[in-house]
Symmetry: none
């Protein structure tokens, strides 16, 4: 019977959504379980019926977000548009989503910070980084072979570029999140500019 599972995952989602909201508002440490309970509309007992505790809440949230990200990239890799186009789509889509959901970025930073302290979360991120790196390398390889049938950039260049891409994204989101109203920049433009630069550098002569 899927009934039971449906109910269960509905409840878990309900709670996770509430937790995400409260974590985004007050940070993980500033969030009280009571706040999440209130936000979820359930009772404290229900929350603890579905999740073992505060840490599991955070871990589940991380898992959820990273899984979604991986799937997005998977979908992109499976498309048959030119690789360069797909990369741009990825980057701009990513930036736009953050831009449109003001809570996403602070929440993500908050959860990321927990990786320092909570081993399960650390593992999630580690695994995700590796997986994402691999996916990106694949995309860059496709770009490279398409662009210049002759071969283009050597493999190590591609590898480095993939890593740089990953890092520049993380770093820029962080900077953007921390920017003040005064110093705030346009995430999409600047991120794409940075990515373009790295891609150009991939093929350029030393």
């Amino acid at each position: 019977m899927a009934h039971n599972n449906d109910r269960t995952s509905a409840r878990r989602a309900q709670i996770l959504t509430a937790a995400a909201a409260v974590f985004a508002r007050h940070g993980y440490h500033g969030a009280r379980m009571d706040d999440i309970v209130k936000e979820s509309g359930l009772s404290k007992g229900a929350l603890y019926w579905y999740f073992k505790g505060k840490e599991e809440l955070a871990t589940a949230l991380v898992h959820h977000m990273l899984t979604a990200e991986t799937q997005t990239l998977d979908r992109l890799l499976a498309q048959d548009a030119p690789a360069a186009e797909r990369l741009e789509q990825l980057v701009r889509g990513f930036a736009r989503e953050l831009d449109d959901n003001p809570h996403r970025a602070p929440l993500a930073q908050e959860l990321l910070a927990l990786a320092q302290t909570i081993p399960d979360i650390r593992s999630c991120y580690s695994a995700h980084h590796d997986r994402y790196h691999e996916q990106l390398r694949t995309l860059l390889l496709q770009m490279n072979s398409t662009q210049s049938p002759a071969g283009g950039a050597p493999d190590h260049r591609i590898d480095d570029a993939a890593l740089a891409l990953l890092c520049v994204v993380d770093g820029m989101v962080l900077r953007w999140t921390l920017s003040t109203p005064t110093s705030r920049f346009d995430l999409e433009d600047r991120l794409w500019a940075a990515v373009s630069g790295i891609v150009r550098g991939m093929d350029a002569p030393a």
Copy 2:
């Protein structure tokens, strides 16, 4: 009386060192004031005599670290070695220092995370980002004009590259900090590879 001030700054330094150690070990939230007291070898009353509270401890620590970073870069800008060389020196020096001080990176991440929550710390980072961006832009301009007297890359390219450089550094340190013994990479090599890529991309044709 300078005596007084000496004593005072010695005590403050002593406490900050202790706080840095404990924050690195347990994270900001996991650190108890008692731990810091014990680590510092002073008494609880003394700690509160020199610092208003836990937040001020963190803020002072951030201030200290960011100031040091700015000064390093300032010193570099004032040298008369070729700009490209100075950039490499900066990046490699930065990487090596992290590599040699295992606590530095986790501590930095922890403090960075506080920027989300503690306004004073957020301001510190915002200001530092802007300043650092400016300094880096200056360095890249020097490289550009040196390399190709004709002019080389247009200004907006340089600006983008400076930002990308900043972000790629932050992002890579983060990734490196989170990497497992298995997936750990060589920070200096990879960071320099990324930086090189971005610099190459700065001048490369679209």
Copy 3:
């Protein structure tokens, strides 16, 4: 319909057995209803269908154990063996049963402790004490008249001896239960030695 009652008492017995096991393992306060549910193999709803709550579980258990004890003594009193022999049988049988069932003694102590707190249980024990005292006095009277047709010990001596017997049993079980592997003594031997001493003292001249 006896069907109904059979099912009912079967279920109740099933639950009580589970409760006894869990109380013996974790103590009354350390036992969670969930543990008892799991141990019983039934559902939480079922448990609460047959018992009003945790206290009733304990009360029923006490009732059950004390009733069994009374019946044992009743059976013994009805036998036609010499009184002295029956007393020895009683004491040794009692000791052996505890020796053979490692959980019995801690469970009994735990339930006894509840008498301080739970009025219903206190009443059970009070009543049982009186009843048991009476039964034991009867047995001692039989011994006395058998042994020395002339009359032997005066009544008040018999009464005191009966009480002493009761107390020495309780006290020794307690001590035995609390004894460490190192200091553990042979319950049957020592208990019988104590009982013999008291019986001897009953007839002995001041």
Copy 4:
């Protein structure tokens, strides 16, 4: 400086007294730390400054009570009154004290029950039992040699009697504590009667 220690032990005593009162009233499990705090007149922080937690409170209390008991017996053994007289003094004094302090007995039972659950407390009681048994054996030996210079009862009889004495005391206090107003008996008389019986039985012929 004894100042510090004085203050410390005063506070600890203050807290322990409060804990004893509350434990006697509500039992260990029924007692809330807040109650003890209120009763002590201190603050919650102070309580936790002097005691690690609820368990340590109980353990310290047990320690305190058992130490006092041992000392009483030690004092008795050191006196030069006839042994028989000292035994009577011990038993009657013990009974009277319980009779005069209505809280003592329930508190003692409550703490004793914790021995089943809390290892530290169990150890306290185990050690105390052994020590007390030894002290009592010594006293009985003195009685025996005094009474009949020829030698009197054999050693194993004395050992058994000592154990029986210990047990009968524990058991009778328990029964007395559990007795209802209706069935309540005079502790001093009955206890002394039981003890006398055991002592008589010690020397009596089989």
